[in-house]
Protein backbone atom coordinates (compact mmCIF):
# COMPACT_ATOMS: atom_id res chain seq x y z
CA UNK A 1 0.00 0.00 0.00
CA UNK A 2 1.34 3.38 -0.91
CA UNK A 3 1.80 6.14 1.66
CA UNK A 4 -0.77 8.34 -0.06
CA UNK A 5 -3.38 5.58 0.15
CA UNK A 6 -2.62 5.09 3.82
CA UNK A 7 -3.16 8.79 4.48
CA UNK A 8 -6.39 8.73 2.44
CA UNK A 9 -7.81 5.76 4.35
CA UNK A 10 -7.14 7.42 7.69
CA UNK A 11 -8.56 10.73 6.48
CA UNK A 12 -11.75 9.02 5.29
CA UNK A 13 -12.22 7.30 8.64
CA UNK A 14 -11.46 10.37 10.75
CA UNK A 15 -12.29 13.55 8.86
CA UNK A 16 -16.06 13.78 8.84
CA UNK A 17 -16.72 12.32 12.24
CA UNK A 18 -18.88 14.27 14.65
CA UNK A 19 -18.69 14.02 18.40
CA UNK A 20 -20.88 16.02 20.72
CA UNK A 21 -18.82 17.80 23.36
CA UNK A 22 -19.96 17.83 26.99
CA UNK A 23 -22.41 20.58 27.92
CA UNK A 24 -19.87 21.95 30.36
CA UNK A 25 -17.82 23.26 27.42
CA UNK A 26 -20.73 25.33 26.11
CA UNK A 27 -21.52 26.76 29.52
CA UNK A 28 -17.85 27.72 29.86
CA UNK A 29 -17.94 29.43 26.47
CA UNK A 30 -21.06 31.39 27.44
CA UNK A 31 -19.46 32.33 30.76
CA UNK A 32 -16.30 33.60 29.07
CA UNK A 33 -18.26 35.52 26.45
CA UNK A 34 -20.22 37.34 29.20
CA UNK A 35 -17.05 38.42 30.99
CA UNK A 36 -15.70 40.99 28.52
CA UNK A 37 -18.62 43.37 29.22
CA UNK A 38 -17.67 43.49 32.89
CA UNK A 39 -14.05 43.99 31.90
CA UNK A 40 -14.91 46.89 29.63
CA UNK A 41 -16.97 48.53 32.37
CA UNK A 42 -14.05 48.13 34.73
CA UNK A 43 -11.67 49.57 32.15
CA UNK A 44 -14.00 52.53 31.62
CA UNK A 45 -14.07 53.18 35.36
CA UNK A 46 -10.27 52.95 35.50
CA UNK A 47 -9.90 55.33 32.59
CA UNK A 48 -12.14 57.92 34.31
CA UNK A 49 -10.10 57.58 37.48
CA UNK A 50 -6.86 58.02 35.55
CA UNK A 51 -8.25 61.09 33.82
CA UNK A 52 -9.27 62.60 37.14
CA UNK A 53 -5.82 61.94 38.63
CA UNK A 54 -4.13 63.42 35.57
CA UNK A 55 -6.33 66.52 35.70
CA UNK A 56 -5.63 67.01 39.41
CA UNK A 57 -1.88 66.66 38.82
CA UNK A 58 -1.97 69.16 35.97
CA UNK A 59 -3.92 71.62 38.11
CA UNK A 60 -1.46 71.24 40.97
CA UNK A 61 1.56 71.74 38.69
CA UNK A 62 -0.08 74.77 37.07
CA UNK A 63 -0.81 76.39 40.43
CA UNK A 64 2.73 75.69 41.60
CA UNK A 65 4.26 77.26 38.49
CA UNK A 66 1.95 80.26 38.80
CA UNK A 67 2.94 80.76 42.43
CA UNK A 68 6.65 80.59 41.65
CA UNK A 69 6.42 82.97 38.71
CA UNK A 70 3.89 85.33 40.23
CA UNK A 71 6.24 88.29 40.29
CA UNK A 72 8.46 87.40 37.39
CA UNK A 73 9.49 90.37 35.22
CA UNK A 74 7.34 90.25 32.08
CA UNK A 75 9.87 91.34 29.50
CA UNK A 76 13.48 90.99 30.48
CA UNK A 77 14.87 91.37 27.00
CA UNK A 78 13.40 94.82 26.54
CA UNK A 79 15.18 96.50 29.40
CA UNK A 80 16.29 100.00 28.74
CA UNK A 81 18.80 101.15 31.20
CA UNK A 82 20.14 104.38 32.26
CA UNK A 83 23.36 104.52 34.10
CA UNK A 84 24.44 107.74 35.70
CA UNK A 85 26.82 108.79 38.36
CA UNK A 86 26.74 111.55 40.80
CA UNK A 87 29.89 112.91 42.26
CA UNK A 88 29.33 110.78 45.30
CA UNK A 89 28.82 107.77 43.10
CA UNK A 90 32.03 108.51 41.27
CA UNK A 91 33.75 108.62 44.57
CA UNK A 92 32.51 105.13 45.27
CA UNK A 93 32.98 103.95 41.71
CA UNK A 94 35.04 101.04 42.87
CA UNK A 95 32.08 99.74 44.82
CA UNK A 96 29.81 100.16 41.82
CA UNK A 97 32.18 98.24 39.66
CA UNK A 98 31.98 95.28 41.97
CA UNK A 99 28.20 95.13 41.83
CA UNK A 100 26.77 93.54 38.69
CA UNK A 101 25.43 95.98 36.18
CA UNK A 102 22.03 95.61 34.58
CA UNK A 103 23.46 95.72 31.13
CA UNK A 104 26.94 95.34 29.86
CA UNK A 105 28.69 95.31 26.54
CA UNK A 106 32.03 93.67 26.24
CA UNK A 107 33.89 96.63 24.78
CA UNK A 108 33.23 100.35 24.87
CA UNK A 109 29.71 100.33 26.24
CA UNK A 110 30.87 98.46 29.29
CA UNK A 111 33.55 101.00 29.80
CA UNK A 112 31.06 103.80 29.56
CA UNK A 113 28.49 102.26 31.77
CA UNK A 114 30.74 100.83 34.44
CA UNK A 115 33.69 103.04 35.08
CA UNK A 116 36.70 101.89 36.98
CA UNK A 117 38.18 103.97 39.71
CA UNK A 118 40.56 105.75 37.31
CA UNK A 119 37.84 106.37 34.74
CA UNK A 120 35.62 107.61 37.51
CA UNK A 121 37.93 110.53 38.16
CA UNK A 122 38.18 111.38 34.48
CA UNK A 123 34.43 111.22 34.11
CA UNK A 124 34.11 113.52 37.02
CA UNK A 125 35.78 116.17 34.86
CA UNK A 126 33.78 115.32 31.77
CA UNK A 127 30.58 115.43 33.72
CA UNK A 128 31.25 119.01 34.66
CA UNK A 129 32.00 119.88 31.03
CA UNK A 130 28.68 118.58 29.81
CA UNK A 131 25.47 120.37 30.53
CA UNK A 132 23.48 119.12 33.38
CA UNK A 133 20.45 117.10 32.59
CA UNK A 134 17.31 118.64 33.81
CA UNK A 135 14.71 116.77 35.78
CA UNK A 136 12.18 116.94 32.98
CA UNK A 137 14.36 114.80 30.77
CA UNK A 138 13.02 111.44 31.89
CA UNK A 139 9.56 112.43 30.69
CA UNK A 140 10.71 113.05 27.14
CA UNK A 141 12.84 109.92 27.24
CA UNK A 142 9.96 107.91 28.52
CA UNK A 143 7.76 109.33 25.79
CA UNK A 144 10.21 108.20 23.13
CA UNK A 145 10.66 104.87 24.75
CA UNK A 146 6.94 104.28 24.94
CA UNK A 147 6.91 104.25 21.13
CA UNK A 148 9.17 101.25 21.28
CA UNK A 149 6.87 99.68 23.86
CA UNK A 150 9.80 99.37 26.20
CA UNK A 151 10.25 100.57 29.72
CA UNK A 152 12.76 103.05 30.86
CA UNK A 153 14.37 102.67 34.17
CA UNK A 154 15.21 106.14 35.28
CA UNK A 155 16.63 107.40 38.47
CA UNK A 156 15.76 111.02 38.97
CA UNK A 157 18.07 111.41 41.90
CA UNK A 158 21.03 110.30 39.85
CA UNK A 159 19.99 112.25 36.80
CA UNK A 160 20.82 115.56 38.40
CA UNK A 161 24.53 115.13 37.75
CA UNK A 162 24.36 112.39 35.23
CA UNK A 163 26.94 112.03 32.46
CA UNK A 164 23.91 111.12 30.38
CA UNK A 165 24.62 107.81 28.87
CA UNK A 166 21.28 106.38 27.95
CA UNK A 167 20.64 103.11 26.33
CA UNK A 168 17.61 102.29 24.25
CA UNK A 169 16.31 98.99 23.18
CA UNK A 170 15.56 100.13 19.69
CA UNK A 171 14.74 96.87 18.06
CA UNK A 172 11.40 97.88 16.62
CA UNK A 173 11.88 101.60 16.00
CA UNK A 174 14.65 102.90 13.89
CA UNK A 175 17.43 104.04 16.10
CA UNK A 176 18.26 107.05 13.96
CA UNK A 177 14.78 108.50 14.44
CA UNK A 178 15.01 108.06 18.16
CA UNK A 179 18.49 109.55 18.28
CA UNK A 180 17.61 112.57 16.19
CA UNK A 181 14.46 113.21 18.19
CA UNK A 182 16.37 113.03 21.42
CA UNK A 183 19.25 115.17 20.17
CA UNK A 184 16.90 117.91 19.01
CA UNK A 185 15.57 118.39 22.47
CA UNK A 186 18.48 117.18 24.54
CA UNK A 187 21.75 117.43 22.67
CA UNK A 188 23.75 116.31 25.66
CA UNK A 189 22.27 112.83 25.53
CA UNK A 190 24.04 109.95 23.88
CA UNK A 191 21.83 107.28 22.47
CA UNK A 192 23.19 103.79 22.54
CA UNK A 193 21.58 100.90 20.73
CA UNK A 194 21.13 98.22 23.30
CA UNK A 195 20.46 95.64 20.62
CA UNK A 196 24.21 95.54 20.27
CA UNK A 197 24.60 95.01 23.95
CA UNK A 198 24.92 91.50 25.06
CA UNK A 199 23.03 91.05 28.25
CA UNK A 200 25.06 89.35 30.84
CA UNK A 201 23.78 86.41 32.76
CA UNK A 202 24.05 88.49 35.86
CA UNK A 203 20.78 90.28 35.14
CA UNK A 204 18.43 87.54 36.10
CA UNK A 205 20.19 86.44 39.28
CA UNK A 206 20.27 90.01 40.51
CA UNK A 207 16.55 90.36 39.97
CA UNK A 208 15.89 87.06 41.56
CA UNK A 209 17.99 87.92 44.56
CA UNK A 210 15.93 91.02 45.23
CA UNK A 211 12.68 89.19 44.73
CA UNK A 212 11.22 87.82 47.98
CA UNK A 213 11.20 84.12 48.35
CA UNK A 214 7.90 82.25 48.20
CA UNK A 215 8.46 81.16 51.79
CA UNK A 216 8.96 84.77 52.87
CA UNK A 217 5.81 85.81 51.02
CA UNK A 218 3.92 83.00 52.68
CA UNK A 219 5.19 83.92 56.14
CA UNK A 220 4.28 87.56 55.64
CA UNK A 221 0.82 86.62 54.41
CA UNK A 222 0.24 84.41 57.41
CA UNK A 223 1.47 87.15 59.75
CA UNK A 224 -0.81 89.71 58.15
CA UNK A 225 -3.77 87.41 58.31
CA UNK A 226 -3.19 86.72 62.02
CA UNK A 227 -3.06 90.38 62.95
CA UNK A 228 -3.98 92.67 60.05
CA UNK A 229 -4.18 95.91 62.10
CA UNK A 230 -0.86 95.81 63.93
CA UNK A 231 1.94 94.52 61.82
CA UNK A 232 4.58 93.95 64.44
CA UNK A 233 6.38 91.21 62.63
CA UNK A 234 7.65 90.97 59.08
CA UNK A 235 9.97 88.65 57.22
CA UNK A 236 12.66 89.66 54.74
CA UNK A 237 15.28 87.92 52.72
CA UNK A 238 18.78 89.19 52.03
CA UNK A 239 20.87 88.57 48.92
CA UNK A 240 22.31 85.37 50.28
CA UNK A 241 18.84 83.98 50.81
CA UNK A 242 18.81 84.19 54.60
CA UNK A 243 15.37 84.90 55.98
CA UNK A 244 15.39 87.72 58.54
CA UNK A 245 12.68 88.62 61.03
CA UNK A 246 11.93 92.31 61.60
CA UNK A 247 10.25 93.24 64.87
CA UNK A 248 8.54 96.58 64.66
CA UNK A 249 7.24 96.32 68.23
CA UNK A 250 9.61 98.06 70.58
CA UNK A 251 8.77 95.73 73.46
CA UNK A 252 9.85 92.79 71.43
CA UNK A 253 13.00 94.60 70.31
CA UNK A 254 13.97 95.43 73.84
Amino acid sequence: MKEADFDKQIAQKVKDQEITPPSLVWSNIVGVLDKPEQKSAKKRYLSYTNLAIAAALLLFIGVAIKLFNIKEAPNKSALITQNSWTQNDLGSAKDQNETPSVTSRPDEITQELIPTAEQGTSMQASATDKKEVQKQEPHSINHMASQTTKTVKSNKKHLELAPTVIAFAAQDVQLAQVASAVNQNRPNLEVVNTSEIAYTTEIIPQERKNKPNILVMLLNTVTQSINPTQQELSFNQDEEGTIKVDFSNSLVKN
Binding site: M1, F6, Q17
Partner: protein, 149 residues
Protein backbone atom coordinates in the same frame (compact mmCIF):
# COMPACT_ATOMS: atom_id res chain seq x y z
CA UNK B 1 -15.50 20.48 15.71
CA UNK B 2 -14.95 18.56 18.88
CA UNK B 3 -13.66 15.68 16.72
CA UNK B 4 -11.15 18.04 15.09
CA UNK B 5 -9.97 19.23 18.47
CA UNK B 6 -9.65 15.62 19.69
CA UNK B 7 -7.30 14.76 16.81
CA UNK B 8 -4.89 17.54 17.76
CA UNK B 9 -5.07 16.96 21.51
CA UNK B 10 -3.51 14.24 23.57
CA UNK B 11 -6.67 13.76 25.68
CA UNK B 12 -10.26 14.96 26.07
CA UNK B 13 -9.41 17.70 28.58
CA UNK B 14 -6.97 19.31 26.17
CA UNK B 15 -9.47 18.93 23.33
CA UNK B 16 -12.15 20.68 25.39
CA UNK B 17 -9.79 23.57 26.09
CA UNK B 18 -9.02 23.89 22.38
CA UNK B 19 -12.71 23.74 21.49
CA UNK B 20 -13.64 26.34 24.10
CA UNK B 21 -10.92 28.80 23.06
CA UNK B 22 -11.69 28.16 19.40
CA UNK B 23 -15.38 28.95 19.75
CA UNK B 24 -14.68 32.05 21.82
CA UNK B 25 -12.59 33.25 18.88
CA UNK B 26 -15.37 32.33 16.48
CA UNK B 27 -17.89 34.40 18.42
CA UNK B 28 -15.62 37.36 19.07
CA UNK B 29 -13.94 37.55 15.65
CA UNK B 30 -16.92 37.15 13.40
CA UNK B 31 -15.88 40.23 11.42
CA UNK B 32 -12.97 38.21 10.01
CA UNK B 33 -15.36 35.86 8.25
CA UNK B 34 -15.78 37.44 4.85
CA UNK B 35 -18.39 34.98 3.59
CA UNK B 36 -16.25 33.72 0.72
CA UNK B 37 -15.98 30.10 1.83
CA UNK B 38 -18.28 27.94 3.90
CA UNK B 39 -18.83 28.92 7.52
CA UNK B 40 -18.02 25.37 8.59
CA UNK B 41 -14.67 25.53 6.82
CA UNK B 42 -13.87 28.86 8.49
CA UNK B 43 -14.76 27.52 11.93
CA UNK B 44 -12.66 24.42 11.26
CA UNK B 45 -9.68 26.61 10.36
CA UNK B 46 -10.18 28.63 13.54
CA UNK B 47 -10.23 25.44 15.62
CA UNK B 48 -7.08 24.12 13.90
CA UNK B 49 -5.25 27.40 14.41
CA UNK B 50 -6.34 27.45 18.04
CA UNK B 51 -5.02 23.93 18.47
CA UNK B 52 -1.65 24.90 16.99
CA UNK B 53 -1.55 27.98 19.20
CA UNK B 54 -2.38 25.83 22.21
CA UNK B 55 0.37 23.37 21.38
CA UNK B 56 2.85 26.19 20.84
CA UNK B 57 1.97 27.67 24.21
CA UNK B 58 2.63 24.32 25.81
CA UNK B 59 6.03 24.24 24.11
CA UNK B 60 5.38 21.62 21.48
CA UNK B 61 8.64 19.80 20.79
CA UNK B 62 9.42 17.90 17.65
CA UNK B 63 11.34 14.73 18.33
CA UNK B 64 14.87 14.76 17.04
CA UNK B 65 16.21 12.15 14.66
CA UNK B 66 18.01 10.28 17.44
CA UNK B 67 14.85 9.61 19.37
CA UNK B 68 13.19 7.75 16.52
CA UNK B 69 13.63 4.10 15.75
CA UNK B 70 13.03 3.20 12.14
CA UNK B 71 11.01 0.21 11.13
CA UNK B 72 11.58 0.11 7.39
CA UNK B 73 10.17 -3.38 7.01
CA UNK B 74 6.75 -2.47 8.41
CA UNK B 75 4.07 -3.23 5.88
CA UNK B 76 1.02 -1.00 5.58
CA UNK B 77 -1.79 -2.61 7.55
CA UNK B 78 -5.39 -2.71 6.44
CA UNK B 79 -7.57 -0.17 8.23
CA UNK B 80 -10.85 -1.87 7.49
CA UNK B 81 -11.00 -3.64 10.83
CA UNK B 82 -10.34 -0.49 12.86
CA UNK B 83 -13.21 1.71 13.98
CA UNK B 84 -13.07 5.48 14.50
CA UNK B 85 -12.51 5.37 18.25
CA UNK B 86 -9.56 3.01 17.98
CA UNK B 87 -8.00 5.07 15.22
CA UNK B 88 -8.54 8.30 17.18
CA UNK B 89 -6.96 6.68 20.22
CA UNK B 90 -3.87 5.74 18.17
CA UNK B 91 -3.61 9.24 16.67
CA UNK B 92 -3.82 10.82 20.15
CA UNK B 93 -0.93 8.63 21.27
CA UNK B 94 1.31 10.01 18.53
CA UNK B 95 4.09 12.33 19.69
CA UNK B 96 2.84 15.90 19.50
CA UNK B 97 4.99 16.94 16.53
CA UNK B 98 4.08 13.85 14.49
CA UNK B 99 0.43 14.21 15.37
CA UNK B 100 0.25 17.86 14.36
CA UNK B 101 2.04 17.44 11.03
CA UNK B 102 0.09 14.26 10.18
CA UNK B 103 -3.23 15.95 10.96
CA UNK B 104 -2.36 19.03 8.93
CA UNK B 105 -1.01 17.15 5.92
CA UNK B 106 -2.97 13.91 5.70
CA UNK B 107 -6.35 15.02 7.06
CA UNK B 108 -6.62 18.79 6.59
CA UNK B 109 -4.79 18.75 3.27
CA UNK B 110 -2.18 21.45 3.87
CA UNK B 111 1.11 21.36 1.95
CA UNK B 112 4.52 21.11 3.58
CA UNK B 113 5.26 24.77 2.86
CA UNK B 114 2.08 25.90 4.63
CA UNK B 115 2.72 23.55 7.52
CA UNK B 116 6.26 24.86 7.84
CA UNK B 117 4.91 28.42 8.04
CA UNK B 118 2.18 27.52 10.49
CA UNK B 119 4.46 25.61 12.84
CA UNK B 120 7.47 27.84 12.20
CA UNK B 121 9.69 24.94 11.15
CA UNK B 122 11.57 23.96 7.97
CA UNK B 123 9.84 22.26 5.13
CA UNK B 124 12.26 19.36 5.46
CA UNK B 125 11.39 19.00 9.10
CA UNK B 126 7.70 18.85 8.20
CA UNK B 127 8.37 16.09 5.65
CA UNK B 128 10.46 14.03 8.03
CA UNK B 129 7.88 14.41 10.81
CA UNK B 130 5.18 13.22 8.45
CA UNK B 131 7.10 10.14 7.30
CA UNK B 132 7.93 9.22 10.88
CA UNK B 133 4.31 9.72 11.90
CA UNK B 134 3.25 7.29 9.16
CA UNK B 135 5.77 4.67 10.30
CA UNK B 136 4.69 5.13 13.92
CA UNK B 137 1.02 4.74 13.03
CA UNK B 138 1.59 1.70 10.82
CA UNK B 139 3.50 -0.04 13.56
CA UNK B 140 0.78 0.67 16.12
CA UNK B 141 -2.04 -0.43 13.84
CA UNK B 142 -0.19 -3.63 13.01
CA UNK B 143 0.28 -4.41 16.68
CA UNK B 144 -3.37 -3.79 17.35
CA UNK B 145 -4.42 -6.11 14.55
CA UNK B 146 -2.12 -8.83 15.87
CA UNK B 147 -3.69 -8.51 19.32
CA UNK B 148 -7.21 -8.75 17.91
CA UNK B 149 -6.33 -11.85 15.91
Amino acid sequence: MYAVALRYAKDTAEAQDILQNGFIKVFTKTEYYQGKGSLEGWIRRVIVNTAIEHLRKNKMNFLSMDQITYHPGVSCPSLTQLDYKDLLNIIQQLPVGYRTVFNLYAIEGYGHKEIAEMLQINEGSSKSQLSRARIWLQKRIQKMEELEL
